[in-house]
């Protein structure tokens, strides 16, 4: 045997189940290999004892990350390869044979194109790159059970006996199903015999769920299986079970809340992401039900999921009130989504969404728009750092600029060019993913992959689009406004000198900084700055939507900075808006920290001027309100009216954080005392004290409104 031969038995002995499966049939297709790897992992991985919780299994997902294996499954990009661990094993190998095994494993793994997101250059990583969040088709599992997939696989296999691709697919998925079955069996054995939990867990997810608790267990199981991700329209899928049990008196609302809270907790422990609530049903009726209320009650003080409340015009007030009560509890949840605008935007953006499916939009990850159970959405495939792009433009053409228009046009051109580069890279990435990083579990659980006979990453899902993050709009708008006013209107400084100030990082340019401060700023309902923001935003959105994705579908702009706005500012030189080198860029589609001076109404009006319908990938808007707003009925009513008006003006999403500035300052001083303080950053909630210092500072600096 040659040196490169890898012995699966050896890997098994080492507890490297996933790798063992992966190298069992080295000649097979990546799809078969990964399927087999998944199967082995599910069959063999260590499972902890039952921990007595209501939701089972719970605790940090054990079967994908048993003991920090070298090779494991990762929900977002299939494979996770711990190179450092392997290096350590090579170091500490006790025998020659062992060492050789590890060495050849390293050689083989290094040769395998592991991470697609390394194909996308760091310039396009604002918000992330090469990630895929997803919402499995929970509905089918709940209503028909996983067992129904067996029959489906057989049918397809029989129908296309000569189609090798389909045979490959069904054979791989058969492995996966077997692995799942084995895992389920093993999990079951850990439960106390004949306990109610064991009885429920025996039924789901194989057979259809019949009670709310069974539905919860099935949902939790599938969520675990996917490695982690989003639940989509949780209240629509599970609502009927919940209502039926409540009506029959089998459970009380209190129990339902406790169960859902337990699920959320587990979700949080496993970096679960998004849950969408309410909105519209396929028959156009409003989707709010008793489970919607239960979810809103359960989210109090929780960090995750990112709860997305789809607000229809006719949403009953009690849901709005409960949502505000949850926000007032300090968790920043839920965020509000403008139902009518989303439905319209998704129709208008050439995404070819079947009218029947339209109402099933939901969100993955922070808040990337996708269709519940039927999407493969690049989320995020990449992002554009607008201030970064602008800096390069200015370096080139500011010193010799003769008119503002010249600068604006040059910037637009650069943006177009960057969009073209980015989309080319993303498409290349998608192609690589399809070849080397198939996703068997999602192929099984996302609609149309099976019927179309196509793997998930090959474009088998019914909807394929890619959400691209657009970061730092506010900095660009304010920069342009400052250049326009100071250089070309008031002529208080020459282009060359302004350029010098930027190069000097404004050191020794205090007077200029002062002049910049009195220039119009985006977010104050002043058209001079807002119109520039609109122009740039429309340009970026238009450019992005021009391109098609390799996997099918289009690019969908969004702005979800997550926590990345701090990092995104590093290495970006000083910008004409007065932002110094390395300082963070804007954290959402709203104004830059502390630059809004006219209160929330003006801020919302400014942001609503953008052509938001072109960016249904979700334009996240942060608004921070003082706690005092939530303590009186008048204040809460005002918050509702702020949101409703923002929506009536065309706004699509807004998320509210309730914090008192004093508290944040205090928390920075005494982090131990504020472990439970949650703030909303980018599209999601995070514990304030877990954030790094720079991020904490920007959040504390975000303008906070109090009741005048």
């Amino acid at each position: 045997m040659n040196k490169n031969w890898i012995d699966p038995d050896f890997l098994q002995q080492q507890g490297e189940w996933f790798a063992a499966g992966f190298f069992e049939k080295e000649q097979a297709s990546p799809f078969r290999r990964i399927s087999l790897a998944i199967r082995r992992q599910l069959e063999k991985a260590f499972l902890p004892e039952y921990n007595g919780q209501e939701i089972y299994p719970s605790g940090v997902n054990t079967f994908w990350r048993t003991k920090n294996n070298i090779l494991t499954f990762h929900y977002a990009y299939t494979l996770s390869y711990d190179r450092n661990r392997l290096a350590a094993l090579i170091e500490t190998a006790t025998s020659c044979v062992e060492r050789n095994q590890w060495l050849s494993l390293r050689q083989a793994l290094d040769a395998y194109p592991m991470y697609s997101h390394q194909l996308i250059s760091p310039a396009y990583t604002v918000g992330g790159r090469g990630w895929t969040h997803s919402i499995p088709d929970y509905g089918t599992v709940l209503r028909q059970g996983l067992a129904s997939y067996h029959g489906q696989l057989k049918l397809i296999s029989r129908q296309w006996p000569d189609n090798s691709a389909r045979q490959d697919l069904t054979a791989g998925l058969d492995d996966v199903l077997k692995g799942i079955k084995c895992l389920h069996f093993r999990l079951n054995q850990k439960l106390p015999r004949n306990s109610p939990l064991a009885r429920d867990f025996q039924i789901v997810p194989w057979r259809p769920a019949r009670s709310f608790r069974q539905a919860l267990l099935a949902t939790n199981f599938i969520f675990y299986l996917d490695g982690c991700d989003s639940l989509g329209r949780f209240d629509v899928e599970l609502g009927p079970y919940c209502e039926q049990d409540l009506k029959a008196g089998l459970i009380t609302e209190k129990e339902a809340v406790a169960w859902v809270a337990a699920l959320w907790k587990n979700f949080d422990a496993n970096s679960g992401w998004n849950v969408a609530l309410g909105g519209t049903l396929p028959d156009q009726r409003a989707a709010y039900n008793r489970l919607t209320m239960v979810c809103l009650k359960a989210i109090r003080k929780m960090r995750r999921p990112n709860l997305a409340l789809r607000v229809r015009k006719d949403m009953p007030e009690k849901y709005f009130n409960q949502a505000l009560a949850a926000i007032a509890s300090g968790c920043g949840q839920p965020a509000f989504y403008h139902e009518e605008a989303y439905l319209q935007a998704l129709q208008e953006n050439h995404l070819n969404i079947n009218f029947k499916d339209l109402s099933h939009y939901a969100f993955g990850g922070c808040t990337e728009t996708m269709m519940h159970g039927m999407s493969n959405v690049g989320s995020l495939d990449g992002g554009l750092n607008l201030p970064g792009i602008m800096s390069k433009t200015l370096q080139r053409c500011l010193p010799g600029a003769t008119s503002f228009k010249e600068i604006l046009e040059a910037l637009k051109q650069d943006i177009s060019q960057n969009v073209s580069h980015l989309t080319t890279q993303v498409n290349h990435d998608q192609e690589q993913k399809a070849k080397y990083r198939p996703q068997p579990i999602r192929t099984l659980l996302v609609r149309d992959c099976l019927t179309a006979g196509r793997e998930f990453n090959q474009g088998g899902a019914r909807y394929n689009w890619s959400v691209i993050n657009v970061g730092g709009l506010a900095n660009v708008a304010d920069s342009l406004a400052a250049l326009k006013k100071l250089i070309f209107e008031e002529k208080v400084i020459s282009p060359a000198r302004f350029h010098q100030a930027l190069t000097d990082n404004f050191q020794g340019w205090a007077q200029l900084l002062k002049e910049i401060k009195r220039c119009p700023r985006y977010g104050n309902d002043e058209d001079q700055a807002d119109s520039l923001a609109c122009e740039i935003a429309s340009h970026v959105f238009r450019e992005l939507t021009r391109y098609a994705c390799w996997r099918g579908g289009r690019f969908l702009p969004g702005c979800l900075m997550f926590v990345t706005y701090v990092g995104a500012g590093e290495n970006v030189p000083a910008t004409p808006d007065g932002r110094l080198k390395d300082q963070p860029i804007a954290d959402s589609i709203g104004p830059y920290f502390g630059r809004e001076k006219k209160g929330p109404t003006a801020m919302l009006k400014s942001v609503a001027k953008l052509n938001q319908k072109m960016a249904a990938g979700t334009l996240v808007l942060n608004i921070r309100l003082a706690a005092s707003f939530f303590s009186t009925a008048t204040g809460r009513q005002a918050v509702k009216n702020l949101i409703r008006t923002y929506f009536s003006l065309g706004g699509m999403q807004v998320q509210v954080t309730v914090v008192d500035q004093a508290i944040l300052k205090e928390a920075m001083k005494n982090p131990e005392k504020y472990q439970d303080l949650i703030v909303r950053v980018g599209g999601y909630s995070e514990y304030f004290t877990r954030l790094d210092r720079a991020l904490q500072e920007t959040i504390a600096a975000r303008t906070e409104y109090s009741c005048p």
Binding site: A510, P600, T601, A602, A638, N641, T645, C707
Partner: protein
């Protein structure tokens, strides 16, 4: 009869236009603060509103001591004394050269003559929010009814936009002024500071009977009206004063609501910035809260229609 053409050129001194106000009438509102007042309540929380002329406000905590203001001040109102900057308001000519020179914003100009058209342009911006919330525009002060023609003209413009209007007044003006704005005002927020003539004169320098006559007149005219009562501990919160107030309110004709207002001490900084002595007595937040609660309870008990937060 031909309607008089409204003059959008009328001016009044404005010291603030505050958007997103939620405590000056229903819904989300924009409040226009006019400068100048004919009363002098000792607890005033808008001391910058008393004088109609523009004023310089100096926030010492933001001052770097760079003396840029001293260099541009031609009257010597700003002087450097050791490392400290001293300001002598009596010599200041309000030219505001120093405001432009100050790099930190420690100096601010308070008060600006604005035309009706300018104010209108600013307040009409939040129309979508008024519509959703049932809000509108409130004119406050100072005493806005010192500028009845200005207010009337502004409100006429707002009426054309179907925006509702409210006025916050202490009512110590001649009935003629009120009559001017009456037809274009949807809501009066009518301050009633005490029920005793003597006490009223002592604390505010005004005449209570004028306030009460106007109030009765307004109620007779079936105007929508909220009577607002600042609850100032040590001034009008004693049981006897409260009883007097209840009796007075009970006697009033027509329909109205009563809204007690909690006293707060957030104006301290402004007194300092204006180089004015702060209200003499110290009132703690707890005291203010207790006085407010008691008043609300007493009014409720007396069967008055109380609005409270």
């Amino acid at each position: 009869m031909k309607t008089k053409i409204t003059s959008k050129e009328l001016v009044a001194p404005v010291f603030n236009i505050q958007r997103f106000c939620i405590h000056d009438g229903p819904g989300i509102r924009t409040t226009v603060f006019l400068k100048g007042c004919n009363l002098a309540c000792y607890w005033c929380h808008n001391p910058e509103s008393r004088q109609a002329e523009p004023q310089l406000m100096f926030y010492t905590d933001r001052c770097l001591g760079c003396a840029a203001c001293v260099a541009v001040c031609r009257t010597g109102a700003r002087r450097k004394d050791g490392s400290r900057i001293v300001f002598s308001p009596e010599v200041c000519q309000s030219c505001f050269a120093c405001v432009a020179a100050c790099p930190t914003g420690a100096l601010e100009r308070c008060g600006q003559q604005m035309t009706v058209a300018e104010v209108f342009e600013e307040v009409v911006r939040d129309k979508p929010f008024y519509e959703t919330s049932g809000g509108g525009v409130t004119v406050s002060g100072g005493e806005p009814l010192l500028y009845p023609d200005f207010v009337r003209s502004l409100f006429l413009c707002l009426k054309q936009e179907k925006i509702t209007t409210a006025i916050e007044t202490a009512g110590a003006v001649s009935w003629k002024n009120i009559k001017t704005v009456l037809p274009v005002t949807d809501l009066f927020l009518y301050d009633l500071k005490s029920a005793g003539e003597k006490l009223f004169r002592k604390a505010t320098g005004g005449q209570l009977h004028l306030v009460l006559e106007n109030l009765t007149e307004l109620l007779d005219a079936r105007t929508r009206l909220i009577i607002r009562i600042p609850v100032v501990p040590g001034f009008n919160d004693s049981p006897s004063q409260r009883d007097l107030m209840v009796k007075l309110l009970k006697k009033l004709p027509g329909r109205f609501a009563v809204e007690p207002l909690k006293y707060h001490q957030m104006a301290q900084g402004k007194y300092r910035a204006l180089s004015l002595p702060a209200p003499r007595q110290e009132i703690s937040a707890r005291q203010a809260e207790a006085a407010y609660r008691e008043t609300v309870a007493a009014f409720r008990k007396a069967g008055l229609p109380v609005l409270s937060v």
